[in-house]
């Protein structure tokens, strides 16, 4: 019996190896198989998404929108690939290498998870232009770090929350307690307190890293927001990706208001809950991707760290639905000017 098992296992391997050998190498024309993405163009762009990929109605979609806009205007052809949950560092690296090896001119990595992989791959391909979103640890001539002043946009929606709140009590639901999401929290709290120093700000995070389910768990988002509404808050801001849908539901059931994040969620959220979305903190990843590609198209050789803040229109707030009164908007614009002028310094950590 044991021998049978052993021989069987041996056979599996022989087969596996035979499988490898049989088809030989056909990598010579491997670039010809084109996947999704645009038509033919002069610049070949590879976009490596974080988990979720195109269609996540959040961060990745925003990057995709920037690519689509650039593809409409410039002569660009593109291919895309998305990360798998919990994948190996080597898999991220290999994804970037596959683009670089197959003669892509530009490789854009969406999300800070790619930070280490970019550091390992970029020096090997000096002729390829890399960009990474939400990380600024890499310093190479061919790497552009695209980062955002999320705290500035969050400051403005925090002010909007405090100006709208009747109970002087607002809330913040973070998806996963990473330094990135803490920036949202810090700005939001500072903004609310700038309007009213006595405002009460409830803060909660759905999960702790390395558990990233907090970005995709509407049920948990709903429970967390319900707790805040029950405790007397009447405006809750979420920076929780897909879990935000639950926050909107909770706001609707409690008769309160919610604030969206990343994109203008009044336009993307479920129609039934749109009317509770007071405003959204805009993080214009699409602008960053578009401008980066626009620089490349213009023949420039971008590198270094580009920070998209209020001044660069990289972050902001939305007014869709007209729930913000003209008086509130006027005050927000005042804060915006002060931040741009440097009169208000927004903290980046709580």
């Amino acid at each position: 019996m044991r021998r049978t098992k052993f021989t069987a296992a041996l056979a599996v391997s022989i087969l596996a190896l035979a499988g490898c050998g049989s088809s030989g190498s056909d990598d010579g024309d491997s670039g010809s198989g084109n996947g999704g993405g645009g038509g033919e163009g002069d610049i070949k762009v590879g976009l490596a998404y974080d988990v979720g990929g195109r269609g996540d109605q959040s961060f990745n979609d925003s990057a995709a929108a920037g690519l689509d806009r650039a593809a409409d205007e410039f002569s660009i052809s593109s291919d895309e690939s998305e990360a798998e949950d919990g994948e190996a560092e080597a898999a991220r690296e290999e994804r970037l290498r596959t683009f670089a090896e197959n003669d892509y001119d530009v490789v854009i990595a969406v999300g800070f998870a790619y930070a280490t992989a970019i550091g390992a791959v970029a020096p090997d391909y000096p002729e390829v232009e890399f960009a990474v979103i939400d990380d600024s640890t890499n310093e190479f001539d061919n790497v552009t770090n695209l980062v955002f002043a999320e705290e500035q946009g969050s400051f403005l929606v925090g002010a909007a929350a405090a100006l709208t709140s009747e109970s002087n009590h607002v809330g913040f639901v973070g998806g996963v307690q990473t330094p990135l999401i803490e920036k949202f929290e810090a700005g939001y709290t500072a903004g609310a307190q700038a309007v009213n120093p006595d405002v009460q700000v409830d803060v909660t995070y759905l999960t702790q890293p390395p558990d990233f389910t907090g970005f995709a768990d509407p049920a948990r988002g709903k429970t967390a927001a319900q707790g805040m509404f029950d405790a007397g808050a009447d405006v809750v801001y979420h920076a929780a990706g897909g879990s935000g849908g639950g926050v909107f539901e909770a706001a609707q059931e409690a008769g309160g208001r919610a604030i969206g994040v990343d994109s203008d969620q009044y336009n993307t959220a479920d129609e039934a809950v749109r009317d509770v979305i007071l405003t959204s903190m805009l993080k214009n990843v699409d602008v960053a991707v578009y401008e980066f590609l626009s620089d490349i198209d213009a023949g420039e050789d971008p590198s270094g760290t580009v920070t998209y803040d209020l001044e660069a229109d990289g972050v902001g707030y939305s007014t869709s639905g007209d729930f913000l009164t003209p008086e509130v908007i006027e005050q927000l614009e005042g804060f915006k000017e002060q931040i741009i002028a440097g009169e208000i310094e927004v903290p980046t950590a709580p």
Binding site: R2, R3, T4, K5, F6, T7, A8, A9, L10, A11, V12, S13, L15, A16, G19, C20, S23, G24, S25, D26, D27, S30, G33, G35, G36, D79, E80, S81, E82, E84, D85, G86, A88, E89, A90, A91, E94, R95, R97, F99, N102, F112, A113, A115, T116, G119, A120, D134, D135, S136, T137, N145, Q177, T178, P179, L180, Q208, P209, P210, F212
Partner: protein
């Protein structure tokens, strides 16, 4: 001789059947989804480039350790579903200890490896003790412990995490340079190296084979797995064996994350550390039929499929999830085809023995032909 040939043919036939079935089912899925079947297979079975070969070996090293950990339990009929939690607790413990750098150089590495094995053993031991003393199913206990491990590691990581300026990743302090395990450079012109830990993994595989097949402990373990009541009758303490086996399984599970920790940048445990390795180990242990060589080949097959599927989306425009389907289907078809081939083999054997008996009795000119006829 003929009999042995038949056996070998059957043994090769089973995995062949399994792979063919898996191939066919995946092709059907591709067809149903309207994806280019030929291009997908051409990419998957193309010969990997040097750097991909290195990645395959590295990934296989990790999967091999995970498969070994699971199969130790399998040999005693214990389903350790908790390798996933055990390796995360263990690699976190190792990363925290190694990051502190209390000892110089490789002493630090050795300390971290011991810590990882102890942490893994302790975590699995909880399920072992519950099973031995309270009869709690180890399946339920280890699944629950997986959830607790996630929460515990998240909680502790937040306490010890260090953060680089401008980075949004959090993780433990990196392992000091002198304590890292250098890679093996196979080809000079490629940027990736084979984990030095692969040597250690091979040794663990040899130790596994020796302990289970050549020692009294291994015999007792296997005997308990075959029949607990028979084991008790021959003087084996099943309770003690349950706890020891779970802890041994956990100790090996503790090694799973270490090749990554000591062999690849950023040399720490953080929010982007590879997850889900424990569940892959279950599939690989099944595929490898609990034999170290089988597990190694299963790990290589899974690592090969993983690596080859990564560029699918870029080069062919098909989601690499298709390979996850193939892997799952392989596990199912392996189980089914082994059973089919076993039955077929048993029938062949019966027929052969019957024919031989008939021949022998005819040749011997049985003095009591009436009995033979009655037997017919």
């Amino acid at each position: 001789m003929n009999v042995r040939l038949t056996k070998v043919a059957l043994a090769i036939g089973a995995p062949l059947l399994a792979l063919a079935l898996a191939f066919a089912i995946t092709s059907l899925v591709l067809l149903a989804a309207g994806d280019p079947v030929g291009e997908v297979w051409a990419q998957i079975i193309s010969w990997p480039e040097a750097r991909n070969q290195v990645n395959i070996l590295n990934n296989a090293t990790v999967l091999f350790l995970s498969g070994l950990a699971v199969s130790i339990g399998f040999r005693m009929n214990l389903f350790n579903i908790g390798v996933d939690g055990q390796y995360r607790v263990a690699v976190f413990a190792a990363a925290a200890v190694a990051g502190e750098g209390w000892l110089p150089g490789y002493l630090n590495t050795a300390l971290a490896i011991v810590c990882a094995m102890l942490a893994g053993a302790a975590w699995a031991g909880i399920a072992g003790v519950l099973k031995a003393t309270r009869g709690v199913s180890e399946v339920i206990a280890t699944i629950m412990l997986n959830f607790i491990a996630t929460a515990l590691v998240a909680y502790l990581l937040a306490k010890v995490a260090v953060r680089e300026e401008g980075s949004n990743v959090i993780g433990t302090a990196p392992v000091p340079e002198g304590s890292r395990i250098p890679g093996i450079q196979m080809w000079s012109d490629i940027p990736t190296e084979i984990y030095g830990f692969i040597v250690f993994a091979v040794l663990v595989g040899v130790a596994y084979w020796f302990t289970l097949n050549k020692t009294r402990f291994g015999f007792e373990l296997r005997a308990t797995g075959r029949s607990a009541s028979a084991a008790v009758a021959s003087g084996i303490s099943v309770r003690r064996m349950t706890i020891t086996t779970m802890m041994l399984s956990g100790a090996v599970a503790g090694l799973v994350g270490l090749p990554i920790l000591f062999g690849t940048s950023p040399y720490n445990y953080g929010s982007t550390f590879q997850s889900g390795l424990g569940f892959a180990g279950i599939a690989i242990a099944l595929l490898g039929r609990n034999h170290p060589v089988g597990i190694a080949l299963g790990a290589l097959l899974f690592a090969f499929l993983d690596e080859q599927s990564n560029p699918l989306q870029i080069l062919v425009g098909v989601s690499p999830d298709i390979v996850a389907i193939t892997q799952g289907v392989i596990v199912l078809t392996v189980v089914v085809s082994y059973e089919l081939v076993r039955r077929y083999g048993a029938r062949l054997e019966q027929r052969r023995v019957a024919a031989q008996l008939a021949r022998e009795s005819a040749a011997a000119k049985d003095p009591r032909p009436t009995t033979k006829e009655a037997a017919r």
